[in-house]
Amino acid sequence: MLDDFLVRAGLAAVGLSLATGPLGAFVVWRRMAYFGDATAHAAVLGVALALATDLPIGLGTLTVALAMAVTVAGLSARGWAMDTTLGVLAHSALAFGLVAVSFFPNVRTDLSSYLFGDILAVSRPELALVWLGSLAVLALLVWRWQRLLTATLSEDLAHAAGIDPDRERLVLVIALALVVAVALKIVGALLIAAMLIIPAAAARSLARTPEAMAAAAVVVGAASGLGGLGLSLWQDTPTGPSIIVVAAALFAISTVLRRA
């Protein structure tokens, strides 16, 4: 069954949404959207560094994404103006990455697969990595759930209950870097943040508790992945953007449902 590229692509999309659903909910609650962008854009720089050093691409993206995420989290804890700082870091990382990748002539033609993903080319080992990475993120979030939720609601309430909000922020930052490394192949660096935010935003209208919103975001994410694959096959459109197009459509439907 796994021999079929379409089955692998579908499983990859569903696996990824297990992580992007709950993590995306935190990104929405904590207004970390731009933060997700910066981390994802840094992944392109990670691709270039991996190519230069002959390391696995996944390791390169994970390392650079983690470095970017920890840097941004550290700067924000010290009270830097986040809008500007993130803008500078995110776009610089993307630009440096693109310039650096251009030094590898054999990759240049393939660049769009890092920017927009290449889910139809997911191999068996890559599929295993997607599921392992996603399940690791999911397990991390479930384990820390009560603490993460308390720290997200109010840092003071967390402190008073003996929870260190900085540590919980670090947990989310690590989870974000992992998801970026995993999702790069599927939706690409430019649209990872969309995969985090749009399903969670669609789920907001349908949920009454944080857990319900996270679960609904998983469902919307998986449906977007499968729907995007279908759209891509049917209309011969690029798959990564097609997934986001379906997610956006589901978001629009959810806002109408809420009004009704």
């Binding site: 929405v28 997200t152 109010s154 003071d156 402190h159 907001r204 508790t209």
Partner: protein
């Protein structure tokens, strides 16, 4: 109520303090916002920290909670002290759906029965299914109090719990605090910027302006010149009205008042 008299709770001679601060200083950068603060809270006692805006009263509470680091001095609390904290305000992002019931289970999950009992105690029975973001200011404060009570606290710490309420709401909330103290025996340490609304519910008042200006029973503080210097005539007028309505004792005469000031300064120098 117990104006000018010491309450039973503070007279218990064998009680050890729940928490105490010993000559603590708090600095933000080179700016010393709190200097040389010493205080303690005994079991069952209601202590109010009073001060104008910028006097460091919120910082003091946050230092006692361990949120803000202390630059000098020593904080101590009873081992495994159960603290119920009610923050000044809680702004829940509209993007987070959360019911009152779910909120009560943070960070420790509680049974439905315990949650409903806590809601009933604060006059919010049956409101568990409400979304937190739809609550009024007064309802939110009650839910925050209910959550704090679920940990079965030995001390409640409240940071201007009534800042978003109108005057009747404020009065009702302080009555509720006193009731809770009565029912659970929990001590209360709270912050206010207005003496007359907390007067009836407080055993002891600490007047703060970067340092402790004066402290004592509500009436001692209301007569202290340090207090009057900080809060001026506006509150004094309200106090006079309050006293006229409720105080059985006559206002202190000037000579006595003067004597009291000396006594008070003397205490303060050695505090």
């Amino acid at each position: 109520m117990n104006l000018g008299t010491t309450s039973l709770a503070t007279m218990s001679p064998t009680a050890t303090s729940l928490l105490s601060a010993d000559h603590i200083c708090v600095r933000f950068g080179s700016d010393e916002v709190l200097h040389d603060i010493s205080l303690k809270v005994d079991p069952g006692e209601i202590v109010t920290i009073l001060g104008p805006n910028g006097s460091g009263k919120s910082t003091l509470l946050r230092a006692l909670l361990g949120i803000v680091p202390v630059a000098e001095g020593r904080l101590s609390r009873q081992p495994d002290l159960r603290i119920g904290y009610v923050p000044q305000k809680l702004t829940i992002d509209r993007t987070m759906p959360i019911t009152v019931r779910r909120f009560l289970s943070l960070p420790t999950r509680v049974t439905d029965q315990a949650a409903e009992a806590a809601l009933a105690r604060v006059g919010m029975a049956g409101e568990g299914a409400e979304q937190m973001t739809t609550l009024s200011g007064g309802q939110l404060q009650r839910v925050l109090l209910a959550r704090a009570l679920l940990g079965n606290p030995q001390i409640l710490m409240l940071d201007e719990p009534t800042s978003g309420l109108d005057q009747p709401g404020e009065a009702a909330f302080y009555r509720l605090i006193e009731e809770v103290r009565h029912q659970t025996g929990a001590a209360v340490l709270m912050i206010s910027h207005d003496l007359h609304v907390v007067m009836a519910a407080s055993d002891r008042v600490i007047c703060l302006n970067g340092h402790i200006c004066c402290e004592g029973t509500p009436r001692v503080v209301s007569n202290a010149p340090e207090y009057r210097a900080l809060f001026g005539l506006g509150t004094q007028g309200a106090l006079a009205l309050y006293r006229h309505e409720h105080d059985h004792a006559h206002d202190d005469g000037h000579p006595h008042h003067h004597h009291h000031d000396h006594h008070h300064d003397h205490e303060h120098d050695h505090a």
